[in-house]
């Protein structure tokens, strides 16, 4: 564009209108950022899994220490969050896979699949914990 005024005093002095500071959170954007945050959280949690496996291989004393941390209140909260992040990221990933196939782009379908991701990941998290609490101990 010949008329572009990049670097001209006029353009440089112009303020930028706000974006995320004013834009309303919607199911679309909230689930997108939730998918990213859960992905980052799961990457960190994967290190925790490796620590747990190494501890199991290192012997009963180390394993007991790690097990102690995991069964503490904070450990349980982190584990619960990791379970939820896992199911949210899994369901969100499946939703993205369907989109990549070119399906599910009608607005009502976008919202239906979005709420389905929320509902199913909450249900699976609760189910996983109920099963774990009753069968494990």
């Amino acid at each position: 564009m010949e008329t572009k005024m990049t670097g001209s005093p006029v353009e440089r002095s112009r303020p930028q209108s706000p974006n995320i500071q004013i834009y309303r959170p919607q199911l679309t954007s909230v689930l997108s950022i939730a998918n990213r945050i859960s992905g980052v959280f799961l990457s960190i949690a994967a290190f925790g899994l490796v620590v747990w496996l190494i501890a199991a291989a290192a012997g009963p004393r180390v394993y007991a220490t790690v097990q102690g941390v995991l069964s503490s209140a904070i450990g349980q909260i982190v584990l619960f969050a990791a379970t939820f992040a896992f199911f949210l990221h899994l369901c969100g990933g499946i939703r993205h896979l369907v989109w990549d196939g070119g399906y599910g782009f009608e607005l009502r379908t976008i919202y239906a699949s979005g709420w389905a991701v929320v509902t199913v990941s909450v249900a699976l998290t609760l189910a996983a914990w109920i099963i774990a609490l009753f069968t494990g101990g």
Binding site: Q16, T28, R108
Partner: protein, 279 residues
């Protein structure tokens, strides 16, 4: 709550904005300050307050938010009517673009209560109390609600939005079957208001190189046109980590389009076409 079409208002909103500081990541020139309040005349029965973003390039002041109390008994039903009423009766310096006043031209696109829409097709009765009016998000501001569209229009020009044909020009019109014509439905209606591009978080962070939903919807409009013969070149032009693939299917675009078009679907179709031509 299921949103069935983009003109549907969300009745249930947990948060009106993301829990971030007001001036999060905002440069010093763009920081918004408190402005003044223009009270309604005494005796006004039905008052509606509008919080409006103001910026005057003639002064050295930062942008600010002014509060205007509008007399609803003296004003038309749409947000654009309120803006015109303010300009006529309170502050003639209030600046905004408008033309057709019926959702056809796309001039009065702005951020109303946190989402992008046309001021002429949003009812005042559907806005919050107070209603908040900002220019389209994430664009340089020329004055008040007038944003600088130079960059997004240049991005539109990049997809070469015209018919490109190698075959010699026919004597008559280039004919299409009704099925071929039908493929353009949902894409040719774009009025280039840039509500979608301005509402796209991916375009906020990488808008210098990502073309954004408006330009990409137009790209698909030409890719799917049976008369256009530059499909290969058009796809080559888009085969880039940023231009096309910075779309992360957030779909704020489809949620906000005032013409109920589907930029998200158009972009998915382009991505699919990219893969199909590799096989």
């Amino acid at each position: 709550m299921i949103i069935r079409s983009s003109n549907q208002m969300s009745r249930l909103t947990l948060l009106k904005r993301f829990p971030l500081p007001r001036n999060f990541g905002v440069n010093s020139k763009s920081r918004i300050e408190r402005g003044q309040t223009w009270s309604a005349r005494a005796g006004t029965k039905r008052i509606k307050t509008f919080e409006i973003y103001r910026y005057d390039p003639g002064s050295n002041r930062n942008p600010r938010i002014d509060n205007f109390e509008v007399d609803l008994d003296d004003c038309g039903p749409m947000v654009l009517d309120a803006l015109i009423w303010i300009k006529n009766t309170i502050d003639s310096t209030l600046t905004f673009r408008r033309s057709c006043r019926e959702g056809v031209c796309g001039s009065c696109a702005m951020n109303i209560d946190g989402t992008n829409w046309l001021a002429c097709t949003r009812f005042i009765s559907d806005t919050e109390a107070p209603a908040s009016i900002y220019p389209l998000a994430n664009l340089p501001v020329v004055k008040d609600l007038v944003s600088d569209l130079t960059h997004v229009v240049a991005q539109y020009a990049m997809i070469e939005p015209w018919l490109q044909s190698k075959t010699p020009e026919p004597d008559k019109e280039r004919l299409q079957s009704s099925e071929e014509r039908h493929r353009l439905d949902g894409y040719y209606e774009c009025i280039l208001c840039f509500c979608c591009t301005s509402g796209c978080p991916s375009h906020w962070w990488t808008g210098d190189r990502f073309l954004g939903p408006a330009a990409l919807l137009q790209a698909w409009r030409w890719l799917t046109d049976s008369r256009d013969e530059a499909t290969g070149e058009r796809l080559d032009n888009l085969e880039d980590p940023f231009r096309l693939y910075r779309c992360h299917t957030i779909l704020n675009c489809t949620r906000t389009c005032p013409k109920s078009l589907n930029p998200g679907k158009a972009i998915a179709e382009i991505k699919k076409r990219m893969i199909e031509r590799r096989n």
